[in-house]
């Protein structure tokens, strides 16, 4: 504990050098894929599992750095002549590196079994793009100057773009990739400007110089707003989220998992780095922007998730919702930190970081689960799935853990972070600002609504895919996933369970981060290792192990009681047939039907297209497509304006050489005339 409160700068950056070595290792593995680009055996059975091991090593290194709580620096003589590459490993980097390494271990193992021949890009090339993506994300997390940061940021965007467009022969996927690339660039421009403001006239682009730059309030606010836009576009903050529901269904599942689980978190990392580290002590009302946007994002994301019929699109919207939770947490942290309430800020930051960790595990798990379903059935449409728990027990049971976790049920991990977030919301009454301390606690209702609807969404997701009866005959041929995929899924599921059962230990480890960013750690009032009681003033506590034991005991006793009471008289029959006997697949609730109440209640949010079957149709199908109004309200006017301007500019382009010559002639004359006048 003593070392944690007084971070010591290590003299020799051993852990950091280790991290750099691992990132280089990923790059080398990626290049090795090019040796035999068409070989699935080389990429899948050797390189991807090797990359997974490097991920595990990275997680261990980052964990060691986090527990040590020290800061390591390294300057590599590559990059611009006057700006060598500055690297730094501090607790904030460490926690996100841990997240990257640990979740990529599971995802890479899964990817080793997942990629096959004949799916667009050759496996070897995929291996290169995938590992460059990983290495770039790692570099983003340890970069300590704006130049390295942005280079890594762009490599990350490009590598993921190529991964998204793996099946580039399909026009729709190319379009999704384009939208993603466009939003990534809009975000990157904002970040470029943000760093330009942050250097504060010193023209030194190291983060160290930015920390010591003294910005006026106005410029600091501009920098914060630009960071919110830039990182918000990457994270998927509404209204900049539009690329998420397009890119995630387009990408192969391990890539979706990596993008949703890890890449979105690099944006969160950036937001924390700029908002709480580079800008120094934040102004409290800055926090209102991420708070309000975050709350809106939660509700917006979860509503759209509820009405989706494509399973990966549903998960993408669910990611939007979770990013909303995270940004709400960031907003609260900044409000508290700016008001000088350090302990509460630490609590909100804790909730934010915890939720990032959780989401990395559970969302990766779910995306990988959909990947297995997609491979086994070739279907993404929920309306053509069902009953897969009998055909794919491994996938189904492991996905169930992720589903329960993301729905926020104890004793799994989703509950812990949402509980912490709500706890920190309860302290907003202590804020020394009139009205704000009244309004923010009320906004908490939105978080609760989001959490509740997330449960609804997950019931739909799991129920329609895995439970009930198969909706198509072809589903009978579905097969379970291979052993590499099983290991990957199991790792992520174990992560979900462990993060849920041992919150106290996780929070202790996160103490170094909160101490670094807001200067406080969350106090522990209880001395029991199994009891989480983060708030001394309040007698709130949570003991996941006790909950689990009690639940298991109740279930066990019920089973025993039933066995004893009905000995020899049990019968097995089809579920839910109510004794009628001939239940068909078409009698089940569909994805559309399940989402109908939400669609009805929140109609103004959606732009709905229905396709009703004819009365004479032998096999009627009801189809409904829900689009976002935001396209028409925001993006179409923008793109229209851009096109209009481009058309005006195009009038200059006559295509006639004489006219072009005239342009240069007139330019020459004007310049000469200006010279003459001066």
């Amino acid at each position: 504990m003593h070392r944690l409160l007084h971070p010591v700068a290590a003299s020799f950056p051993m852990l950091l050098i280790g991290c750099v070595g691992l990132l280089l290792g990923w790059t080398v593995i990626g290049l090795a894929g090019l040796v035999r680009p068409r070989s699935v055996v080389l990429a899948g059975r050797l390189l991807f599992p090797l990359g997974a091991l490097l991920g595990l090593a990275l997680a261990l290194l980052a964990g060691a750095s986090l527990l040590g709580g020290g800061i390591e620096r390294l300057i590599l003589p590559i990059g611009l002549p006057s700006l060598p590459m500055h690297l730094r490993l501090d607790p904030l980097s460490s926690i996100f590196l841990l997240l990257l390494g640990a979740s990529s271990f599971g995802i890479s193992l899964f990817a080793g079994g997942y990629f096959r021949v004949g799916e667009g890009t050759a496996p070897g090339l995929l291996c290169l793009q995938y590992h460059l993506f990983l290495a770039a994300m790692g570099l983003v997390l340890i970069a300590d100057d704006a130049y390295s940061f942005l280079v890594a940021w762009e490599v990350m965007a490009l590598a993921s773009y190529f991964l998204v467009t793996t099946q580039h022969r399909i026009a729709e996927i190319r379009r999704a990739g384009f939208i993603y690339l466009l939003m990534a660039h809009v975000g990157a421009i904002c970040l470029l400007l943000c760093f330009g403001v942050l250097q504060g006239g010193s023209w030194h682009f190291t983060f160290h110089a930015m920390r010591s730059a003294h910005l006026s309030l106005g410029w600091a606010t501009v920098a914060f707003a630009l960071a919110l836009l830039g990182f918000g576009a990457k994270a998927g903050l509404v209204p900049l989220h539009v690329w998420l529901p397009e890119a995630h269904p387009a990408a192969p599942s391990p890539v979706s998992a990596l993008m949703s689980g890890v890449m979105l978190k690099t944006a969160v990392y950036g937001m924390l780095r700029v908002g709480l580290d580079l800008l120094g002590r934040p102004v409290w009302w800055w926090g209102l922007a991420p708070l309000i946007l975050g709350l809106f994002t939660i509700v917006y994301g979860v509503l759209f998730a509820a009405v989706q019929t494509d399973m990966k699109r549903l998960l993408a919207y669910s990611s939007v919702e979770n990013i909303g939770m995270v940004f709400t947490g960031i907003g609260l942290t900044i409000v508290f930190a700016g008001s000088g309430l350090k302990v509460f800020a630490a609590l909100a930051l804790l909730a934010t970081l915890y939720h990032c960790l959780n989401h990395a595990f559970m969302k990766s798990l779910l995306f990988l689960g959909t990947g297995s379903v997609l491979h086994a059935t070739g279907e993404r449409n929920l309306g053509r799935l069902g009953g897969l728990i009998h055909r794919m027990p491994w996938v189904a049971w492991l996905t169930l853990i992720g589903t329960l976790a993301i729905a926020g049920l104890p004793p799994l991990n989703g509950f812990v972070s949402e509980w912490l977030l709500l706890q920190s919301f309860l302290f907003t009454g202590h804020l020394p600002h009139a009205f704000v301390n009244l309004l923010i606690p009320m906004a908490m209702a939105l978080v609760v609504l989001g959490a509740a609807l997330a449960g609804y969404v997950m019931v739909k997701f799991y129920g329609v895919i895995f439970l009930g009866q198969p909706r198509e005959a072809a589903l009978a041929r579905a097969h379970d996933c291979g052993w590499l995929e099983r290991i990957g899924l199991t790792w992520l599921a174990v992560g979900c369970v462990a993060l849920g059962l041992f919150p106290l230990q996780v929070i202790r480890a996160l103490g170094a981060v909160t101490h670094q960013l807001v200067g406080a750690v969350v106090p522990q009032s209880s001395s029991h290792w199994w009891l989480l009681a983060p708030v001394p003033e309040r007698s709130v506590s949570y003991a996941p192990l006790v909950f689990l034991t009690a639940t298991l005991a109740v279930v066990l006793m019920t089973v025993l009681a039933v066995r004893l009471a009905y000995r020899q008289r049990e019968r097995r029959g089809p579920a839910w047939d109510c004794g009628a006997g001939n239940l068909t697949a078409r009698m089940q609730d569909t994805a559309e039907g399940f989402g109908q109440p939400i669609r009805h209640l929140f109609q103004p949010f959606f732009q709905i297209e229905r396709e009703l079957p004819e009365p004479t149709d032998r096999a009627p199908r009801y189809r409904v497509v829900v689009r976002e109004r935001i396209w028409r309200l925001m993006y179409e006017p923008i793109s229209g304006a851009v096109e209009g301007l481009a058309n005006i500019a195009a009038r200059l382009q006559q295509g006639r050489i004489s006219v072009y010559l005239l342009y240069s002639f007139l330019t020459l004359l004007v310049l000469l005339a200006v010279a003459l006048i001066r």
Binding site: Q653, Q654, G655, R656, S658, F665, L669, L672
Partner: protein
Amino acid sequence: MTHLPLYQQLLDSCAALLLLLSFAMLSQRRVVALVNLYAVQGAVLAATTLLLAWRTGQDHLYVSAALTLALKVMLLPWLLHRLIRRLQVHRDTEPLLNVSGIMLVGLVIVVFAFSLAQPITRLASTATRSAIGIALAVVLLAFLMMITRRKAVSQVMGFLSMENGVLFGAMSASYGMPMIVELGIALDVLVAVLVLGVFFFQIREQFDSLDLHHLESLKEHQ
């Protein structure tokens, strides 16, 4: 009235001749005559350079004069004549503006060039400083010629004439450019003519004509 020395009178009349030739090229529509005018312009330029070299005793100007003579009076006109014969272009089509209109614009440009050159003339110390305005006018007139012509060959003539103007300007302002630059420019011009010659054949093959308005169809359509 002050009495100018003979070489100064000669230089000034050469400069005047250059300007006159520029106007002649601007109004000339027959391509063969254009090439001949270009050759004459080159010859006048070579004579001016020779005169300057003799007067100032700078040896590299002799080389420059020889280069101008060889390249602009002999080699390039020969190449161009051959090109014209093989391409069968003798007349340019109607220019974009009628000839008298172009001449009027040319007049305005000359006035502009002279007023522009005045401050430079005051600063320069060379014997030929009064010709700077003319050099500028030659460049701008050549530019005007490029704008108003439709045929690719005439545009190349304009380009070459412009290069003459630039060379003359350098000569009047500071007795020529460093040798290495001059050699480089000479090589550039030669290569440009060769490459453009190839282009002409390609353009004709594509469009059956050397009229550049066909190139408008290369523009991206909406």
